[in-house]
Structures are given as C-alpha cells and as structure tokens.
C-alpha cells in the first residue's frame, strides 16, 4: 500500500509543461533559453526594458525632460528627471531586475552547455557552441548596462546557485565583460555573413563593437591607464570598421522606418514582431505626442472644432538646450524632434491621416519624432525594431578614441562619414527651407581639444535621445573642464518655446522654468532598496542613497 500511495499522491508535472531539469539538456532547450536572454531587448509587455532604459539614459541628461500627461504621470520617472532619486524608485528597480533576467538566461545557457554538449551529435555541437557565444555576448551586454549605472555589482556567473553574493569591484566586472566579448567574437559569425533568418542575433561584429565601447568607458574610469584603453578602443573600432560588417544607411531617417530594420547600420537591435501584438509596441506609445487634433484649427489656435484625442503618452520631451545644439539647417533636427507646426501621421482607423500635434502637455514644447515618423502604429501594424547600438555610434567611438591618441586623420575620416550622411539626408518637404547647403559642415580642425568638443557634440546630435546621453556625460565629467552637473542643470532650466496653448479646456498655464540640483551621488543610481533588504545587506548601497 505504501508504494502505491506514494505514487498516487505524486504528480510529477503538469501535462504540457517542461520540467526545468531536463529542458536545458538539448540544443533546442538551449536555443529557447538563449532567446530568453535576448527577450528583454524586444520591449515586451512583461519586461519593459526599452522604457526603463530610456528613463535612466535620457531623463538624467541634458537632452530630455520626462513629459507625460502632467508632473504626476509616471511620477517615478519624473523623480529621476527631478534628481529626486530614492532607492525605492521603480524604473530603477525594474531596470536592475530586467538586466539580471538577461544575465540569468545567458548564465543558464553557459552553465548547461557542457552537459548538453556531452550528449550532442556533430550538428548539435556547432549549434550549442554558437548559443554559448551569443550567451557570452549577451551576458556582457547586460553587465555593461548595469555597471555604468551602478558601479560595483554582484558578479553572478551561473544560473542555479542561490548563494548570496556581495558586490564585486567594477573593474572585475569589466574584466569579465572583456573576456566574454573576446570569446564571443571568436565563436560568432560576422554580421554580413548572417543568414537572413538569423538577423538580430549577436555577431562577432556586435561583440567587437561592444568591446570598443567597453574600452572607451574604461578609459575614463582608470585615468592612469586611459591611453591604453583609448588605444584598445581605437584598435577594436578600427577592426570592426575594416571588417566591413556594417555600413551607414544612405539616409539618416531610414533608421526609424520599417525598411531600416536589421539594416547594415544596426549592430544590436531589439526585434519587434512583423504583426504587432498585444505584448509589444509599448515603446512607441511611451514617447509619441500626447494629443493631436483632427478638424480645423483656426489661425488664432483657440477655436478648434473637433476635440483632442489621446494619442501617445508623451514622455521623453527634447529640451530647448538639445534643439539649440543643432547647427541651423541640420536635417537631423527634423527627424529627431517634433516642433510647432509639425503634424503627425496617425493610424487610428484604416486610413492614416495627418493630424495637428498639441504641445500643451509637453513640458519643453517639443516631442520626440524618432519611433513615430511612420505614424503611430495601428494594432495590426508592424512596429520597427528598437535600435540599441548603431554603426554611427561605433564610428564616433572610433573617432573619439583616435583623437585621444592623437590620430586626427582617422578621427576626422570617421566623423566625416557620419556628418556626410547627415548632410545628404533630405529634410522633410515643409522643412526644406531650414536646410542649408553644406550643413553639417566638413570638419577639418586637428586641434585635439577643439575636435574633442566637436565629436562630443556630434555624439549628442547623431545619437539624439537614443538613451545613451547620460553615460557619455558621466564619462566626460571632470575631464577637460567638462561638468556633468552644470551641463544638466543649465539644460534643464531652459524654458522651451511658449507655443500658443493648444487646449480644449478653459484653463491652462504657461511653461515654467524647472530647477534641478545634481549632486555627486547622482553619478550612480542607487542599488534597489528591496535588493539590499532581501540580500540581508550583503549588497552595500551606493554612497549618498
């Protein structure tokens, strides 16, 4: 009876579910696990990596204010914009968690691979080795996201251990990233050799490009070894450039159109479905303008017939300071920022129509156009991939590193690649008048300091509101007279254009100046409070939080 009883009350697994123990012993299981390490990149409903990355990367910079419906809308994101940051802040907590999701599944692949390999046949061995390469590249990607925000980290390299870890010195994290990326670049195919069906997976070019970025960050962290790391960054960037795995698209704006997905310019992209579904598409909604008007708008702007409808959530509003950074006539301004008079293609029903944008809710008077140049996606529309790392970023890293090691020839050549493409990008019809011949101008100076400033500004323009700005500012902070604090405080206090208030309510107030105070502690984000508590204080908190 005893044995029979035991069997009766043992239900090994729910029919149709896989047990975790057996799943990761096959090549397919590892494929589905490495897919999970990519998964946050897709901006899925479950895991809003894209949005939280944007909050951390832009709202602390001089480029953007939080925006939204009002100052209470997503107030945790507003708090980051206000530098009113606590360790309980939710975008910060989510960001930390999401990056570790990527690390966990990358670790699961790397950890399970030896067992899977021992049982695999030849074809399986090749597959598994490739998945391990992808996993190493992804592990480095996620650690890089973390290390530049938090500094020292618990360096977790397996998926099963539950032993509490203290934070390791960030240099050890950098060492691990370099090791992973070098191994990954050896295991992975070149981007231009990737089968069409594999587009979006990590490549040797992606691993090398990330490595170049890792080196240039490290150059700022270790001033006495700066030259070494600038040289490594330069050499690695040059290797990528010479490998011709990537090339710039002929037009700047193509990057934010569907035809720009998985293009020659994309180094790391977050794949989005061909047909939009309920679990994707949150990214574009987050930054799209808040309201639009249909119907007729009279010149006075106040007698609008037809009412405003909610549209996007209107976060991530470009600052006046950012707009001012463009050379007059640079076509990239049009493709980056919505200004008064711009309209927007709205795909509400079966017909898309151009609609007036209401700037009433923008705290700066501007909205971000990247993500929505093709119109707001309908539920059945495809939405474009999220571009996390573009080739122009790598070119500018190469240029910056080259300038630092006194190689102005390569610096100017790579900078010119980026600016030439911008110059040849058409401005939109109604902005044709803005366009000025030979803008952006061809840079010829070989003065190291002057060229550094030009490259720094070029990064800001070319990669405008692509969620990397704050890390560049922090990288440059305290060097060559550059101050993160003053750059951010100045930019955030600039009042944007006080456009005619477009509102259907009989109330409304003009824009006001914002005062933010940046403290030294803000160079790092706080370790999430729950993380410190659940680890029983094994994890230490960053200074000042």
């Amino acid at each position: 009876m005893g044995a029979c009883t035991k069997e009766f009350i043992t239900k090994p697994i729910q029919p149709g579910t896989e047990s975790d123990a057996s799943f990761r012993k096959t090549a397919d299981g590892l494929l589905y696990t490495v897919n999970a390490a990519y998964w946050p990149l897709s901006g899925n409903y479950w895991i809003q990596y894209y949005i939280n990355r944007l909050v951390l990367g832009n709202f602390r910079s001089d480029d953007a204010q939080a925006g939204g419906e009002d100052e209470n809308d997503d107030f945790q994101a507003q708090a980051i914009n206000d530098f009113n940051i606590f360790s309980t802040n939710s975008p910060n907590t989510d960001f930390w968690r999401i990056c570790f999701v990527g690390i966990h599944y990358a670790n699961a692949v790397i950890e399970s691979a030896p067992t899977a390999l021992s049982a695999a046949k030849t074809e399986g061995v090749a597959r598994i080795n490739k998945y391990v390469g992808e996993a190493k590249c992804l592990r480095a990607y996620w650690y890089f996201e973390l290390v530049r925000n938090y500094g020292d980290l618990p360096l977790l390299l397996n998926a099963t251990s539950q032993t509490l870890l203290p934070r390791s010195n960030k240099m050890l994290v950098y060492d691990q990233m370099e090791k992973d990326l070098i191994e990954a670049s050896e295991a992975l195919p070149a981007a231009n050799n990737l089968a069409m069906a594999e587009k979006g997976r990590m490549t040797s070019g992606a691993a090398m490009s990330l490595l170049a970025k890792v080196y240039i960050y490290r150059a700022s962290l270790e001033p006495d070894k700066a030259e070494t790391y600038f040289r490594l960054a330069y050499e690695t960037a040059k290797e990528v450039i010479d490998s011709r795995q990537f090339s710039l698209l002929p037009r700047y704006d193509t990057n934010w159109k569907l035809i720009g997905d998985y293009s020659s310019e994309g180094i790391i992209e977050g794949g989005q479905p061909a047909i939009n579904n309920a679990d994707n598409g949150y990214g574009p909604i987050y930054t799209a303008p808040r309201y639009y008007y249909s119907g007729i708008k009279t010149p006075g702007g106040l007698n609008i017939k037809g009412s405003a409808s909610a549209y996007g959530w209107g976060f991530n509003c470009p600052t006046q300071d950012f707009v001012d950074a463009f050379e007059p006539g640079d076509p990239r301004l049009y493709w980056t920022v919505f200004v008064q008079g711009d309209s927007c293609n709205v795909g509400v029903s079966n017909k898309s129509t151009m609609q007036m944008i209401c700037f009433d809710h923008s705290t700066t008077g501007y909205y971000l156009r990247k993500n929505v140049p093709d119109g707001f996606p309908k539920t059945t529309d495809a939405i474009m991939n999220v571009k996390y790392y573009r080739y122009s970023d790598l070119l500018l890293i190469g240029a910056e590193a080259a300038n630092e090691i006194d190689n102005s020839t390569d610096a100017l050549a790579w900078l010119e690649l980026v600016r030439d493409r911008a110059r040849n990008t058409p401005a939109a019809p109604n902005h044709e008048a803005d366009k000025v011949a030979n803008v952006p101008v061809v840079i010829t100076t070989t003065n190291k300091d002057a060229l550094r400033l030009i490259i720094q500004n070029e990064r800001r323009i070319e990669l405008g509101l692509e969620d990397n700005r704050v890390y560049d500012l922090l990288r440059w902070d305290g060097k060559n007279g550059f101050s993160f604090k003053s750059v951010v405080e100045t930019a955030q206090s600039k009042i944007g254009p006080n456009y005619q208030i477009d509102s259907d309510e009989k109330s409304g107030t003009p824009r006001k100046s914002r005062i933010v105070v940046v403290e030294p502690k803000h160079k790092l984000m706080p370790i999430p409070d729950s993380e410190v508590r659940t680890s029983g204080n094994t994890l230490s908190q960053n200074e000042g939080y």
Binding site: I9, E18, F23, Y32, W96, A195
Partner: protein, 1029 residues
C-alpha cells in the same frame, strides 16, 4: 395523468428494491394519529419495536398494522418534528394517538464529518441551517440560504447577475489565496475551489436549493480537523432530502416573479450634460439655444428591463421501514435585469436508502444538473459602466435604425448588449453510493464512493456589425472553450459505539482517497463571414484568423487516514478527539504528509444534581459549556507549486513569449522559469481555540449560543523575494512559494432565538450577530500577492485600504500656498490632500490607511409569525463598519473633463456660476476641467461607508384549511407572495452596498469591497403555490 405516472414510477421502483417479508400473522393494531390541534397527522411512522414491522399513517391519519406477533409488544410512533411516543400493547388493539410537536429541537441530529451527533451533544462550534428555517421562504440558490442565517459566516454576492457565485468567508480571512470553505454534499467533497473561479465556479450554487434538507457549517478547528488539510477555511456540509417511511408524498412548488433594478445611480440628463459641457469646454459644442430641446437617453434604462423569474419543483418521496426514496425534478429560470443576461437550471435528484437485511444498508445519492448562464460584461469595461458614461444627448438608434454612433463616448451600450452572446453551459453529474455493514451490534463498516463530473462549455460570439465611425467589425468573432472536471472519492470507515452504565463511547476510523482532474481548452477565431447564423468554426484560415488557442490539464490527489473518539459520561461530560493524516500531491517532497489533531470537551452543567437543586436556575432548561482546540490546514495552492518548471506561456491569459529575429521577422520561442522547485512547500496551518456556551430558557422557548474563538494561521503561502539578481522575475512568475508568516482572526458570535407556538398565534424571533477581528501578525519577509487597493502590513488587518486622506477643497490661491505643495498647476477648486508626513509636499509617502473592506460585524434577524393558516416571514440581514471603494465614481462618474457622461453630483461643482452672479463654493465636488491635481487619485474621497441593513425577504403565506384541501384530495395547499430586496438602508451611493470580491483571473481575497461597476442587484416580487398530495 401526471400523478398516475409518478405513482407507477415509484411503484416500479419500490418493487425492485423491496424485500418481501415473511408473513406469520397473528394480531392487528390500528388507530388514528392526530396532531395536538386535532388535525390528522399524515406520514407518521408506526413500528413494532425490535421488528421490521411497520407502516405509516394515511391521509386521514389512520394506520393499520397487521402481522403483529402475539404477545406483549411496544408500538413506536414517530415523526420528524414530533415527540416520539411508545405504547405497550398486548394483542389486538385500536390506539388513537395525539402527537406533540417537538419545538425544542435539541434532540435533532447534526451532521458532522463522517457521522452525525445529537445537537445536544455537540462539543465544537457548528451552525445549522435547516429546512425548517427556510420552509416558508423562497431561496434562489443554495448559498443564499446561508446569508444572514449562519452565525459568523460572511456571505457576499459578488454580482447581481443571475447564477453568479458568491463569496463565503467563515470567521475572517486566513489566507491570501483561496478562502472558500470546503463543501461536502452528502459526503462528497465537491469540485476543488482552487481550480477555477470564473465561469464554472466551485461551491454549491449548482445545487437545487429546494433539495436541501440541512446545511451545517463547521466553524472551529475542533469540528473541521477531521477534514485535515482542507478544513482551515471551515467546512460546509450539505445534506439533501431523503425519503421518510410512510405513504408516498408528492410535493409541488411553483413560483413566478418579476424583478427590476432595485436602485439607480443618478447621471446627468442631456440638458444638464450639454450645459455643463459648455461651461467647461472651449469648443461650445452645444448651441445654447438648442439645449432645452435635447432629447435625453437614459442608457441604464435602455439596457435594463423588468425580468421574469420562475421555479417549478416536483418531488415525490416516501418509503417503507426498509426503503425510502426521494425524487425531485426542478426547473428554475431567472432572467437578468440587464438585457441579454440570465440563468436557468434544470435538475433531477434521486436519493434512496435501503435496509437490505439486518446487517446491510445501502443507498444512493444522485443528481444531474444542467445550467445555462448568459452573461453581460461587468466591471470597469463592462456595459453597466459604459451605460452610465454614455452620451445622454444621443439617441439609441440612428435614422437608419442602426445603433447610433456615440462619437464622444464610443461604444453604444445597447449595441453592446444586443451583440454580446456570452453563455456558459454546464452539465454536472454527481453521484455517490454507500453500503453499510453491521458486523456485530454497533460495529459498522461503511463504504462510500462517489463521482462528481462536470462539463462546461463557454461560447462567446460577436456577430459582424457596422456603426458609423471606427466601431465596426466586418467578421463574426467566436470564442469557444470547454472544461471538464472529474473528481472521485473512495472512503472506508469503521465505527463502533458502546454504551455501558453511564459511559458512552463512539469510535470511528477511516481511510479515504480522492482524485481530481481538470482539462480545458479555449479557442477563438475570426469567422470569415458576416452571416450572424454562422456560429461555428468553419472556413477559418488557420494562420491569420486564429485569435486564441490554448489548453491545460491539472490533477491532484489526496490520501488520508482519520480517526475520532466521542466519549460521554453520565450525559454530563462529553469529550471528542479526532485526528487526520493527509498525504497530498500538491506539496513538496519534504511536506507530503500532515497530521491534524483536535479535541473538544463539553460540560452539561444543567444535568448536574446541584444545578437542578438551585431554585432560581429552574428558568434555565439546559446549559452547556464547550471548549475545543484543533489544528487544520489549507491546501489551496496551485497543483504543481512545488515543482520547478519552464514555460513558453507562464500566464495562460497572455500570448506565448517570443522574441523576433530574421527578415522577414519571425517569432522565436522564449522559455522562462515558471516555477522554482521547493520541496518544503506545504499547507497553511491554522490553530484555533473555541469557547462556547449553549443555553435554553423558559421551557426551551428561548435558546442562545455564544462562541468565542481565536484562530491563528501559520505558514501562510507567500512568495519570498530573493535578491532579483538571481532573476526571480517578480510576483508574476518565477518566484518559489514558501510558507511564511502568520495572522490572527478572533471574534465572537452570538445567536439567540425565541419561539412560542403554544397558541394559535405562534411566533419566532431569531437573530445572530458576529464580530471578527483580523490582524496580520508577521510577514517574516514574505511577499503577499499584490492587490490594487488594499495593503498587507504587519499589525494591521487584511483588507485595509491604502491611499490619500483628503481635507476638503481649496478655496483660493492663499489656501493653496498655505497648504503642502501638491502640483505646479493646483488651482482653487482642487481637492486638498493631507500631508501625513508633514514634509511640505504631497507625494506617495503621504498615503496611509484609510479604511477596511471587511465589515466589523455581520448580522441577521428572522421573524416568523403564524396565525391559523397564515404565516409571515421577514428575513433581514446586514453588515456594519466596512468601507466600499466606489470605483464607479472614481474612474467613471466623477469624470471632471466631461468627456463622457457623469454623475448628477457634478452639477454642484466648485466654481460653477450661479444665476445670481456668484460661484458655488460650498461644495465637496471639485472644479471641472483637466485634472492636473489628480483629484482622481485613490483617496478617502472615494471610500464610502458600506454598512447596510436589508430587508431581504418578506413572505406572506396562507395554508388552506385541511377540510377544504382534503376535498381536493390534497394534503396541503399553500399560496404565498414574496418580496426580495425590498428595502436597503445604507448611505452608500452606488447601486448596491453588497460588494464582494472581484471575480477575475487571479482574484484574491485582498481585492474585496471594490465597486467597479458590478451588475446591480434586483428587487423581486413573486407569488407561489405549493401543494402536496
């Protein structure tokens, strides 16, 4: 014709099961049995003691016993509800008997787990609701029978929609998971509560309430511990009617009623809406000269109706002293007051018991129920909310007789109601059979085995439609799903009773096994047609048209050993002790088995000599104190919570996880950790103590029961957050379930009843009252499930609402400047929030505890009056001291921008220009316009007192005089009228203050008391007729 058919049916049945008796006849005993009043008593049993010779009295109360062996014998006259009489005879005799009604009912048997016990001998805390309590009222569902009648049981209708499940909580909340009690119907544990909540709910509302003989609620652990891991939420035992020895009896009961919306919520009419709109918005949409002529559509009136309810019940019952039978057929139909909703149920039941021979008794309980429920959408996106918010200036239909397009508010509610075809059909078979063998006197073995099968089918069909503007669907859409449950039970019990001198001992031991499996699937697709009759999956293009396709299976099993001892000495001292050991498939390897002991004792003080000798105590007829202690478990945990698993679809309600690669882009499956293994996960344990006092006074006319209890629940099932860097994703999935923390429920219950039927004017008043105090004692780092509105914190009760406190309305800029900073654009007329932490600004740190969703006390009163043929029953119930979060108001009706219709309260908004040139300032309604200040944030502004007192039913009946009825060849004829939900006294401003637990996926007891637009309760008037032959 019908009657003859039944007679034949029964005759045939009886022929099959009768044991033909040997016949050695000598003398005859006959006579007439009458009630005290002189009326003949029909169906009383007459038996010769110690033999199987017996009969029942006929329509005129006459009986005749032939074949009585010669010599001295004892004749026993008995009937339920009357005092048993024993008469000695010797030879032929004619004995006329008057039987006295037994109003004391202290000798009645109470069903306890795996047995029965005399009410007088109870040692635990058990509340009984019997047919007698319900006799003269019309109960629409089984769970309704408990509301207000069972002390200490909180019964709340989650919705007024016909056929919707209720939430039942016994002595507070002892878990964050499922808090439904265990239901046992005729010994068969019904479908598991943790398996499905939405359409095919667990619980007892599938039962035909007319079949219920009694309901026992086992409240304390000493009573429930015999149910081990399933007893922690209390146990509800239902016994259905069985035949009584005697002449065949046919009972017919029919009623017919009409229902209407009990209470409405005032919204703006067209003139008011247009006026306010123009006052607030720039675009002056409404031409002011045209406003007086606007036609108003009251959308709630358009989607509701007067609805019919009816019930037809026929039952036949009877039996000999060897075999009895009960057969019933029922048809119940209730239209919903919201158009397109309704519920109907057909059921058949057959219960039999046969004394096959001296040592073998066997019986069957079988029921087949079929129900169909049509639903409309409820809650925030439901049609009721939609109707309240819809534009009152628009007509229902446009000039082409199509649904008009509501350009401002969208979604024509009448169109929604008319298009919606959501139905759920169930077929349920439940049967059990038992055999009881008496080996030697009082040593009995019983085998009880049963099967509960349920099949449900969901159909959600939306035909193609067209409304001007964006609202149209060119295709039919169909979702269909099926689920099936299979639940079987096998129980072996052995019992022995022993009486010697003043000692009485009952022993019970048993071995039981139960297994349950659920399978379900749902699919949905666009149908490539606009033909509204095309309601089947055909011509579906597999890739592009399929909207949903998923299925699952779950199973669990339980094996148990149990034992119980009852000992009584001298009818003064009683002791009960029980133990159960459960082995469950749901728990981890280290906690597969649990042992649940209990004991209780009682002292019948009134049976002590000294008590009888004290004069002033003579007014007390009986007095008993009880004390019990026990340990019970709650196994309501996911069936596979202890296992580590990975899944492509951790949440069946959402899409399969995917990331996208390649050109063209293709979905690549993503598998994540769904559950993490934990071999230590087990049941929640609750340990409770109960102290009770039962007394009766004044010749047992006045009875009362008081109970005090203290229940502590340990090992609550929660997730314990580990650092996120281990990738414990969050509460959605990937967290291991652990047993942590503890909470406490304590309280008292009081029930009192006074009956007097000594004269023609009989009456009875009974009332009950219960108060529960809940407190979260320790979380131990555990993470309870998140709730949108209430918080779980140590040292506060569960169900505590958490939000801002308000302090009125800002009157001017000065007022704003002197108050803590709210937002940049705060203006006069905005709501003032309280700065709880006094830091000079209002932010989320200022949220605090602002109310509780659970009532402080729950009560019910019943009044029964009878005079000659008339009977009047008034049943009232209520709750006191809880708050309701009026989300209807917060997210719907206090729409300050007037983008949709709003509550009539808004007419009085702050700053509204008056005819005399002044503006309204003395108001609690904020200014209208864009809500920069977030006046809508969750605050005590939207909490309302949820106390209510309700006259739930009033029934007036008249039973025709026997003489008249007998001329019609009937034994009884009663006509009655009933009003339900006649009056509700409450301050609550929504449709109804009875707000339960939202019923969605993942519904938790922490989401209680939120009125998000639930289906309103109906007021009902009905008339009925019951007759017996």
């Amino acid at each position: 014709m019908k009657k003859r058919f039944f007679k034949r049916l029964v005759a045939a049945y009886l022929l099959m099961s009768f044991i033909v008796l040997g016949a050695v006849a000598q003398v005859t005993v006959k006579g007439t049995i009458k009630e005290n009043s002189g009326a003949p008593l029909i169906g009383a049993t007459v038996m010769i003691k110690g033999t199987v010779i017996g009969t029942v009295s006929d329509l005129e109360g006459k009986y005749i016993l032939m074949n009585v062996p010669e010599g001295k014998a004892l004749v026993v006259y008995s009937m339920i509800g009357y005092k048993t009489i024993t008469q000695e005879i010797d030879g032929n005799a004619t004995i006329d008997i008057k039987m006295e009604e037994d109003v004391q009912s202290l000798d009645e048997l109470v069903v306890v787990g795996y047995g029965t016990v005399k009410k007088n001998d109870l040692t635990g805390s058990i509340t009984t609701v019997s047919t007698k309590d319900l006799k003269n009222t019309s109960i629409l569902s089984a769970d309704q029978a408990i509301q207000g009648r069972a002390t200490g049981v909180l019964v709340v209708n989650n919705s007024g929609a016909p056929g919707s499940p209720v939430s039942i909580k016994i002595r507070g909340i002892g878990s964050f998971g499922n808090t439904d009690p265990l239901y046992i119907v005729d010994g068969m544990p019904v479908k598991d509560a943790s398996f499905g909540k939405d359409d095919n709910p667990s619980g007892i509302n599938y039962l035909n309430p007319n079949d219920i003989e009694s309901i026992q609620v086992l409240k304390d652990a000493s009573s429930a511990a015999i149910y081990g891991t399933r007893g922690a939420n209390g146990v509800i035992l239902i016994t259905t009617k069985r035949g009584k020895s005697g002449k065949m009896r046919v009972d017919i009961d029919n009623y017919l009623g009409v229902q209407s919306l009990a209470r409405n919520v005032d919204v703006l009419d067209a003139q008011q809406y247009a006026q306010l709109y123009n006052e607030v918005k720039i675009d002056n949409l409404f031409d002011s000269s045209g406003i007086p002529g606007l036609n108003t559509t009251n959308w709630i009136n358009e989607i509701t109706r007067k609805a019919i309810v009816y019930n037809n019940q026929v039952s036949i019952s009877g039996g000999s002293s060897e075999t009895n039978y009960f057969l019933s057929v029922n048809n119940y139909n209730q239209q919903g007051i919201v158009k397109g909703s309704g519920y109907n149920r057909q059921s058949i039941r057959l219960n039999t018991d046969s004394q096959v021979n001296k040592w073998l008794k066997t019986g069957v309980s079988f029921t087949l129920v079929q129900s169909l429920r049509d639903r409309q959408t409820e809650g925030g996106n439901g049609v009721i909310m939609q109707a309240l918010k819809s534009d009152p200036t628009m007509a229902v239909y446009d000039s082409t007789d199509n649904w008009s397009y509501l350009s401002r508010t969208g979604g024509n509610p009448v169109g929604q109601v008319e298009r919606n075809n959501y139905s759920y059909k169930t077929t349920r078979m439940q049967g059990s059979i038992y055999a009881e063998i008496e080996f030697i006197k009082n040593l009995k073995y019983k085998l009880n085995t049963g099967l509960d099968r349920s099949f449900g089918k969901k159909t959600d069909f939306q035909p193609a439609f067209f409304i001007a503007g964006p609202e149209s669907s060119p295709n039919n859409t169909l979702y269909e799903g099926q689920d099936s449950w299979n639940n079987w039970l096998m129980e072996h019990t052995l019992s022995y009773s022993f009486t010697k001198d003043k000692h009485r001992l009952d022993l019970l031991t048993g071995y039981t096994a139960q297994f349950e499996r659920k399978e379900s699937y749902t699919m949905g697709a666009y149908l490539p047609t606009a033909d509204p009759d095309m309601r089947y999956f055909s011509n579906v293009k597999v890739i592009t048209d399929i909207l949903q396709l998923n299925g699952e299976a779950l199973e669990w099993a339980l094996i148990s050993q149990l034992g119980r001892l009852n000992y009584a000495y001298d009818d003064k001292y009683l002791l009960t002790a029980s133990i159960r050991r459960d082995g469950s498939s749901r728990f981890g390897g280290n906690r597969k088995y649990g042992v649940f002991p209990s004991w209780s004792a009682a002292w019948k003080i009134s049976n002590e000599e000294f008590f009888k000798n004290i004069d002033f105590l003579s007014v007390i007829n009986s007095m008993k104190v009880r004390f019990g202690w026990g340990k019970v478990g709650n196994q309501n945990i996911d069936a596979y919570a202890y296992l580590g698993s990975v899944s492509n679809r951790p949440d069946p309600g959402r899409l399969a996880l995917a990331t996208y690669f390649g050109l063209p882009k293709a979905a690549a499956p993503v598998y994540v950790d769904k559950t993490l293994s934990n071999s230590d996960v087990g049941w929640e344990t609750s340990i409770s103590k109960n102290l009770g006092l039962d007394m009766s006074f004044l010749k047992n006319k006045l009875t009362m029961t008081i109970d005090l209890y203290d229940k502590r629940t340990n090992d609550l099932l929660m997730t314990k957050p580990l650092p996120m860097y281990f990738s414990r994703l969050d509460y959605l999935f990937g967290n291991a379930r652990v047993n942590l923390g503890n909470l406490n429920n304590k309280g008292y219950e009081y029930a009192v009843s006074y009956k007097n039927y000594e004269s023609d004017f009989g009456y009875e008043i009974s009332g009950n009252f219960a108060r529960n105090f809940n407190k979260m004692l320790a979380l131990d780092g555990g993470q309870p499930p998140l709730s949108g509105t209430t918080v779980v914190k140590e040292n506060i009760p569960l169900g505590t609402f958490y939000g801002y406190k308000t302090e009125g309305i800002f009157q001017d800029q000065n007022d704003i400047d002197n108050h803590a900073y709210q937002v940049l654009k705060t203006a006069p007329g905005d709501i003032k929030f309280k700065d709880m932490n006094k830091d000079g600004k209002i932010d989320d740190q200022d949220q605090t505890y602002i109310g509780n969703a659970f009532p402080g006390f729950v009560y019910g009163f019943t009044f029964n009056v009878s005079y000659k043929g008339f009977d009047l029953n008034i049943f009232t119930q209520g709750v006191q001291g809880n708050q309701i979060y009026n989300q209807l108001r917060q997210t719907g009706l206090y729409n300050l921008t007037l983008n949709s219709n709003a509550s009539a309260d808004l007419l009085n908004y702050w700053g509204r220009p008056q005819a005399d040139g002044t503006n309204i300032t003395n108001t609690n309604i904020p200014r209208l316009g864009k809500d920069w200040n977030r006046n809508m944030r969750f605050s005590d502004y939207y909490l309302e007192d949820g106390s209510y007192f309700r006259i739930k039913t009033i029934t007036l009946g008249y039973t025709l005089k026997e003489t008249f009825v007998q001329r019609l060849k009937m034994s009884n004829l009663r006509i009655y009228v009933t009003a339900q939900n006649l009056f509700t006294f409450t301050k609550y401003t929504g449709f109804d203050p009875e707000i339960g637990q939202s019923n969605g996926w993942n519904s938790s007891p922490l989401d209680f008391g939120v009125d998000g637009g639930a289906y309103p309760q109906a007021r009902m008037f009905m008339g009925g007729l019951s007759l017996s032959f």
